[in-house]
Amino acid sequence: MIVAEPKPIKELLEMVKDFNRILVVGCKGCVTVCNVGGAKEVAILASSIRISRKKMAQEIEVEEHTLERQCDPEYVDELKDMIGDYDAVISIACGVGPQFLSERYPSSRIFPGVNTQFMGGAEEHGIWSERCAGCGTCVVHYFGGLCPIARCSKSLLNGPCGGSANGKCEISKDVECIWDLIVRKMMEQDRLDELIEFKPPKSWITARDGGPRRMIREELVK
């Protein structure tokens, strides 16, 4: 899933301080799963804004709405009859959401309510970690199913480096050295010899370095 974290409420209040009719829009996709942008979080943010304005004795109308997904035009369309009633819209979807809303409703003022962090998974409830860098050419099968692009601080394809100690990366004792895990996994699978084979420098053409990406699948296009 795409993992995000809430923007500080103070920052959001500053963003919308000049607006009195605010629509908070959530998304039932990834941000619901990582507890940052679903219907529950929409209600918490809306309530926080109302409390703040009430405290300042200022008039405010905050409406709540959660879309099935903010990254699909058919669901974004759902707002067409209501969005015009509000002078500010806070999207608490990942960075895709506020952009899709801005593109579909060009005259509306759209504000991002979360900071999108990474593609990852839940280690346990409340703890998420990065697993994929979206490089466009998956190579995890060479490395025991673990990704050195996303999980090695240097994205090394021929590791580990000298900064690996006791299974931890030199950047922080809280960061595990993925190359330590890769070597252990390959030993367990009796495939250590495969790591001796030199991996040539990766082509980043399929990654973000090749510019903004677009994908067309003709079999799906109407």
Binding site: I9, K10, A43, I44, I51, S52
Partner: protein
């Protein structure tokens, strides 16, 4: 400010705090009439939104009264509630509202006296802070 009577909302666990309330009643110990009790099956059910809503509706203070950490009938209810109260304190701080307007207390079924004391403690603390919404 002395005649200010804060409106307090208390979320009370039905297993311990509410039993403590019954004990208090038996001891003829009365709760302050400005504390509104909301009885819940377990404090672990209290969500962040539940804790914010009273402030949205104009309450001056909120507290959660639940079990001791090691005697929650549902194992971790009060621990979860404590974390949520801490989170709401952070939200209130971000909204420039005194975080002391919300708190959590650990009680047990027999502590009738303490149940009433906690209510008065909260009332007095919020009274010191003044009304949540300025007139």
């Amino acid at each position: 400010m002395n005649d200010f009577k804060p409106q307090i909302v208390a979320f009370c666990c039905s297993n311990c705090a509410s039993s403590a309330a019954n004990v208090a009643e038996g001891m003829k110990k009365a709760l302050p009439d400005n504390v509104k009790i909301i009885q819940i099956p377990c404090t672990g059910r209290v969500e962040i939104l539940h804790l914010l809503k009273p402030f949205e509706e104009g309450a001056d203070g909120v507290y959660v009264a639940g079990c001791q950490e090691d005697s929650c009938q549902y194992v971790s209810g009060i621990a979860k509630a404590t974390k949520r109260v801490t989170h709401v304190k952070k939200i209130l701080e971000e909204l420039s509202i005194e975080p002391d307007r919300i708190d959590v207390f650990n009680l047990s079924a027999g502590k009738g006296q303490e149940f009433v004391e906690v209510a008065y403690e909260m009332v007095n603390k919020v009274k010191e802070l003044g009304p949540f919404l300025q007139a």
